[in-house]
Structure formats: C-alpha cells, structure tokens
Symmetry: C2
Subunit: 162 residues, 2 copies
C-alpha cells in the first residue's frame, strides 16, 4: 500500500504546474468545474494530484478541442454521472439493472464521441484541402527542378512532411 503522496499544493504551484493562472483556476472553481481537495486552516486552497489532472484535462479541452467552459462543464458532469453509475453498478447484482446502467453510460459516451468526431471530421477536411494545395505546389516545384535545369545554384528544398 503506497501512502500515495498526500502532498497538497497551493494555488500558485498548481498554476505553475498546469500553465494556468491562479485567476483562471479560481474562476473555474467559481463555475463549478472543480473544488480543491482541501483548505488549510487559514482557508488556503489545497490541491491534490487528481485536481491537477482535472485542471490539465480542462485546459486540454479548452485549448485543444476549443470547447467553451460551459461545454466543458457539461462534459465533466457527464463524467461525474458515469462515475456515479459505476458506483451503482458495483452495488447491484441485478442483471437487468446492471444492463440498464451500462447502456446508459454507453449512450453518454456515444454522444461525446459523436460530438468530438464531428469536429475532427471537419478539421480533417480542412487539412485535406491544405494538403492538396501543398501537393499542387510540390508538383510545380518538381517540374521546375527536373525539366529546364538552368545554371542555377540549386538550393535544397527543405522537405518537412514527406
């Protein structure tokens, strides 16, 4: 049994670790996106590792997926609902109820996946278009290099994405 670091961090350290500002962290708390694991005697916010993970997750959703904090709140609520369901799952042995809980959870996940996939798909089509343009350019360049062969110092074209 590991004591699993009971090392609690204060908001400034959390900010440094997550790349968020203290203001943002407090703001997220204000919005109900998280609660610090504990408070010190003098009411300092104290965070544990799971809080860090949660904040990093929030940051990822915000920056990478471009979700609004409201949407992130929804996702986290869904997550919490899943957690509660798992709890209930463990506490029942009735197959019908278990099946109902599992199906419910699956529907939730499916919804998330669909949402994410929609964004990803459209992003992918934008990438495709850009790559088509790139290929077009590359074609012209190749044409230039192989056909006329003038007396020019051939500079190396840095190929980044082969």
């Amino acid at each position: 049994m590991t004591h699993t670091d009971v090392r609690l961090l204060r908001i400034n350290e959390v900010a440094a670790e997550t790349g968020l500002t203290t203001r943002a962290i407090r703001y997220y708390e204000e919005l109900g996106l998280l609660e610090p694991a504990a408070r010190s005697e003098g009411d300092y916010r104290l965070y544990d590792q799971s809080d860090l993970d949660r904040l990093l997750f929030i940051r990822s959703l915000r920056d990478d997926a471009g979700f609004s904090l409201a949407q992130i709140g929804q996702l986290l609520e869904d997550e919490a609902a899943r957690e509660r369901n798992r709890e209930r799952l463990r506490s029942t042995t009735d197959p019908d109820e278990r099946r109902a809980l599992l199906l419910d959870a699956q529907r939730r996940v499916d919804r998330q996946i669909e949402f994410l996939r929609a964004k990803a798909d459209r992003l992918a089509s934008m990438i495709e278009a850009a790559e088509a343009r790139r290929a077009h350019l590359a074609g012209h360049l190749a044409e230039l290099d192989h056909v006329p062969a003038p007396y020019s110092e051939r500079q190396k074209k840095q190929a980044k994405t082969p």
Copy 2:
C-alpha cells in the same frame, strides 16, 4: 459566354444563406475579413457568390475549427498572399524567382497544415480515449449477456481522466 449569375445579394439574404447574422457580417467587414463585391446606389452592401463562399469559410473556421477571428484573419491573409504569389508566378519566367515563390507558398501551407494537424491530433486522442471507455462498457455488457456472472472483477486500476 455564360452570364454567370450577376445576381447580387443584400446582407439579409446573405445572412439567411450563411446562417450568420447581419451584425456578424458587418463586424467581419469591420475587421477586414471581407469586402462586399459592390455597393448599391444608396450604399447597400451587395454580395456575390465568392463573398458567400468566403463567409461560409469563415463560419467553418470559427465553428468547426474554433479559430478566433484574429487567427482567421491571418489565414485569409495567408490565402491572399498565396494568390498574389500565383499572380507573380504567372508573370515571371525566371526559374530562381519561380522557385523562391513556390517555396514561400509551400512554407505558408506547411504552417497551416501543422497548425491544423496539431488540433486534429489532440482531438483524435480524446476520441480514442472515449472509444476506449466505450469498448470497456461494451465488454461489460457482453459479459452480462453471455456469461453467468463469473464474479471476475479483473480490471486494472482505472485511470480517471484520460
């Protein structure tokens, strides 16, 4: 020669067609993201098809890719720069200059692709995580359906926020 629809639309029709509000369209103009193809005698904004396309593109960048209007401005400027380069390309026959122009354009496109791909990648990893959860649930469901409750609770430590 086709007259190719010289049908110009007024801002309200454009709004209906693009799903944007008139205010948003004027705002984008204010930010320099587009200019209406023409103005009527009484100074009404008049838009052509390419304006529609541009607005739909902007909307896609905003909604689907989640870019800020400032970033969109950058992308569109890049696009314009590409266009200018193509023009210059057509007007020169000097191989060295042609190569320089093409390489420049390619660098721009590469930058865009990298930017888009970064977003897409991280979105993809989120989707992957969600699908893993889904598979996990599906496994439990199958277990419920096919096995007489084998008492096997052989799961790992469960990562909480992937």
